[in-house]
Subunit: 255 residues, 2 copies
Amino acid sequence: MKRYTVKELAKLAQVSIRTLHHYDGIGLLKPAFRSEKKYRLYGKNELLRLQQILFYKELGLSLKAISEVLDDKNFNHIAALENQRSSLLSEQKRITILLKTIDKTILKLKGKKMITDKELYAGFSKEEVSSMRTKSKKKFGEAEVQRSEKYLKSLSKEAFKQLQNEQSEIFKNLLALSKEDVASEVVQLEISKHYTNTRKFWGTNGTADTQKSDYKGLGKLYTAEESYCQIDGKHYAGLAKFISAAIQHFAKTQL
Amino acid sequence: MKRYTVKELAKLAQVSIRTLHHYDGIGLLKPAFRSEKKYRLYGKNELLRLQQILFYKELGLSLKAISEVLDDKNFNHIAALENQRSSLLSEQKRITILLKTIDKTILKLKGKKMITDKELYAGFSKEEVSSMRTKSKKKFGEAEVQRSEKYLKSLSKEAFKQLQNEQSEIFKNLLALSKEDVASEVVQLEISKHYTNTRKFWGTNGTADTQKSDYKGLGKLYTAEESYCQIDGKHYAGLAKFISAAIQHFAKTQL
DNA sequence: TCTTGACTCTTACCTTAGGTCATAGCATAT
DNA sequence: ATATGCTATGACCTAAGGTAAGAGTCAAGA
């Protein structure tokens, strides 16, 4: 007769060893017997029972309920299943209602505040954001990118404009500080604001990755395409280079 | 400005006081201030916030997630809602699959073992069982009755036949004992078996109610309609009266 | 004024289904 | 004999409160 150790049984049934310990503890699945050294040893019957347990668990029954179903030979499994079926049905109904509610709420919140794509990319070029997203996809996967995309698009006009204004404000401050050392505290403070603000545009603020190279890349982009750091549509000589240098320093020392 | 104590707020928002304590503890909903004696006092803003909390909770967000949504003014509620929406969608999909699985399993288990109505009422008259159910409904409510109905119908042919056989066996034993005193131990032991078995037919075995009057009613029915206690289709003079008397005694002394 | 009942406070243990250590005993191959 | 791997038990942790104990507080009636 084949005997399984905890590890073997766990692997066979795709559960953790802790789970087997737990089931033993609550008396849901006891080993066929213990070795001399108290090792748990399971047989075919236990494997079978474990599979039944997992089946009922998948259907959402609690371990206690499963105990009752499996141990009461007299009682019929069908009753338990029918019971669970009706629970699942009401849960399904509940979720349907919740989905309707959530959709209505979203519509209401979006209302006329939904910003257009044009407005979305007014602060950053479409290509720039698009490229950032492509890179992000490789790092974080499709789902995460879609999440942030949704976030950006769902920003209200007001919030988006505020972001733009903040960015513009930072540029102005930096312009005023453009005779300072790029490594000076005052300049680096502004850059730190710029970094945070930029990540809000990217929809990646709050994520673990500091995006060091992305941010450095943005700095270089400023020198290559000075139009990106205009202030109120006006160009200021040397500003792009100054900001870019400050960004490189920030990335090197902070990220 | 209106101030609410824990009890008032709890009642207003239909939550427990413990919940308010908890929300305070985790910083989700702090009282506007504390009285001199440390009593929590809430204002309108807190009521409003609590309502928002409950809304999101209803949608299935964790308290932690709710904290984040409500506290990050910068962050948009829509993102959180969209997120939750997709969670709910997959949950709905999962449940649909589970329901299919459960239905298939039920069908398989029932297979050809499902007993027909004809078989179900073969041992007891349809009217009798039906009347018992109607009475039970008043006592226990619809849900409980449906549960037991399911149980009865889900009995396998084998289990059902076994019940019938046991009932028949009891009648035979009682026939053999029909010269004994109805109050004698031997007779009362058989009646006790009959009682348990009958409650299995009724699907009420295991419930708290002893169904004293129902059971006594059944005894009287036996004398009124002797066909109910035939053995293998044969009628035995006086048997119904004997059993009925024994049942009355059992009900009086045991139930 | 004292007492009683209703209310409040904090502290703490309990619930599910295990996850995640820590510590120690056992097994096996080198 | 030792290194590696497996096992055991015990303990603490999670989410969202329920339940209860013990003590302080408040308002009303005697």
